[in-house]
Subunit: 447 residues, 2 copies
Amino acid sequence: MIVITALETCDVRFPTPTQRDGPDAMNEDPDYSAAYVVLRTNSPDDLCGYGFVFTIGRGNDVQKSACEALAYLVVGRRVEEVVSDLGAFARGLTGDSQLPWLGPEKDVTHMAIGAVINAAWDMAARRDRLPLWRFIAGLRPQQIVNQIDFRYIADVLTPHEALTMLNEAKYKKAERIQNLRDRGYPAYTTSPGWLGYSDEKLARLSLAAVAEGFKTIKLKVGVNVEDDIRRCRIARKVIGDKVSMAVDANQRWDVRNAIEWVKQLSQFNLAWVEGPTNPDDVLGHAAIRCAVAPVPISTGEHPQKRIIFQQLFQASAVDLIQIDATRVGGVNEILAILLMARKFRVRVFPHAGGLGHGELMQHLAMADYVSISGSMEDRAIEYVDHLHEHFVNPVRVIKGRYVAPSAPGFSAEMFGTSIREFAFPHGEAWRKSLSVGGSRPERADVM
Amino acid sequence: MIVITALETCDVRFPTPTQRDGPDAMNEDPDYSAAYVVLRTNSPDDLCGYGFVFTIGRGNDVQKSACEALAYLVVGRRVEEVVSDLGAFARGLTGDSQLPWLGPEKDVTHMAIGAVINAAWDMAARRDRLPLWRFIAGLRPQQIVNQIDFRYIADVLTPHEALTMLNEAKYKKAERIQNLRDRGYPAYTTSPGWLGYSDEKLARLSLAAVAEGFKTIKLKVGVNVEDDIRRCRIARKVIGDKVSMAVDANQRWDVRNAIEWVKQLSQFNLAWVEGPTNPDDVLGHAAIRCAVAPVPISTGEHPQKRIIFQQLFQASAVDLIQIDATRVGGVNEILAILLMARKFRVRVFPHAGGLGHGELMQHLAMADYVSISGSMEDRAIEYVDHLHEHFVNPVRVIKGRYVAPSAPGFSAEMFGTSIREFAFPHGEAWRKSLSVGGSRPERADVM
């Protein structure tokens, strides 16, 4: 009998340079990190499933221990049973009778559950020798409905409504799959706009982004409004009026100063203002959106579960959303959020600014295009050229578009050499770093 | 120099019997547990600070590791500096640049921060040889304002508004302190109403509660509506019309079935319906409250931060709230929530159904009465006669009222013998239990 024989975890951290200002308004010195999960099996072909939670450093050990704590729910399970009903598998993890006290569905336990669920989807797709987006594209509408836990969201999305939307979308699936293979999926880039870059570097990288084919760039803002106005002016001048420009405040503001700040930036015809305030403040986002209309407002990398997204939609609090495959409860909960977004006609711009986000999110965005929304030219996946070299099947972005991945699975697997080198605190990269008094190894031009 | 020399942690779990149905609609087999924190110092008088996070079993190890992860922010800090500005101490913990990625302010890291902050308040009160409620009562209005992080809530509560309310309340402080010493603070009891009790036991314990002087009892509901109607009828008949009866669904319902269910129970003149749906669904609570009016709606033991409470108030989603000293970021965040509740005239009924909740919450409810709301006869602290024997200064409830505690500190300290016996998994209680095939030690009539 083929079973899951182990749930292995690793604390992997990639130190980032400290010699300049932090990359965004809230996270000054991130060490992009993963609490990495491997589901091992006794399958003769060494079938495995890979997943991870993204963090920015401290606490990654806590996140790793949360992943380990799930072993008792997973080890010994039959692979066939898991992959043939991933919806039941997911509900089994979120439905433990003691763990949800820590959340429910909003803490490191929930993110750990998401990593394990994603590893199970990876395993299922690998087993069928399909990239995950194609695996999902192969699911019938009712099979997708079966993935979703409608508990607490049924007043906004019923199984019947979900099925109706999926049935509408299914007729063009083959055409869309071909379209993705031919043309890929739009990307936008955050590379030019990190805080701490000189004006010259901002201008140079903005111009380079346009030359590379990106149709949207994003700037980090939120520390100093005069700086932000100057930086937006520089970037807008360089990219012209045909390329879109978004800004991201990384939840820096209160409601009142968000409104004042955004009004001062609205002259730059922003594609969206991301993360204006605390991610759990649904009513705050609604108030900001109302006050700064028509500037589009968004959030999404931090809200922890479908129930927050549901309220963002109900309250008309956002024009578009980010989603993050390692924040919520894995593929299953992402599907629920995508279906609600489809119902409310809210566009999705997946978060992919960290470690391995692009690798995961490309599959979910493409599956959304094929099976749910049927749209991609009005949306884009974030892209930053950072840390992809550690992944066995890294993203490929050509002329501003993600190339549809063809390797089996969810693209979450990292190289063993990378994991060993960056394992915290005993990997080579950290032993060197910590032995010289806490300074960190340099990496060339990251983020 | 007197400094914090160590942050010690322990995983303490109290196994509860499994031979009957679970105690509430969502948590079937809780092992009431604490991730216990001790701040040690090099003070000649062995000054310490005690705090903990309550959990219901699995995941308590993750919670403990989250507490440990904070040591680097605490160990080596000067005691004088910590206790003389607890607001700055609290903001220092929540303001780490990497940990908030895991939340922000909504995960085991945030609860760990709360435990450490509470331990610091315990230490401060012990140092002044005052019970915590008296310590807080001794703070001037501006000192209380200084405790609070107004970030993200300033659109609902400004420092000036907070100061105005505190100044209004301050004139009767001495009278209220005396009143608490003379008469204590009202308690209500959940003891009669756990799911799984026979009708006979429900009736007997309800009658006993009235005889003991409780003015309110609470029944767990939410699994079967016919059972709930029958149980409410029995309890109401036994307690009469002069004693209040509340029910608690422990977040069991969707919005739609909450409305249907509550309408069927409204005939029993309920004091409140607690936890009707997911604790993060602010708009769901508002919809339920609107549909079942005038039945009072409440929630509070699970919302994780001031920003959710703020929205519950903004959306008129609740008539009253529970608060839990081990869910949010400690005393400082509780003070913010109490001030917002005061502004919105929402009554507070602290959650004290678990392990050590009553020990902590009595101080905060009494401090609220003295310094903030000025009211106590229209509210009550939950009481369950369970596990208090493990605390060095256990609560005392006499004739349905909490006796104002007089021992210095926050009453969070547990006996070393209890900690050793119930340490998981190597304490005596667990070694016995786990060595006989996973069955648990019996405890007489707990919960």
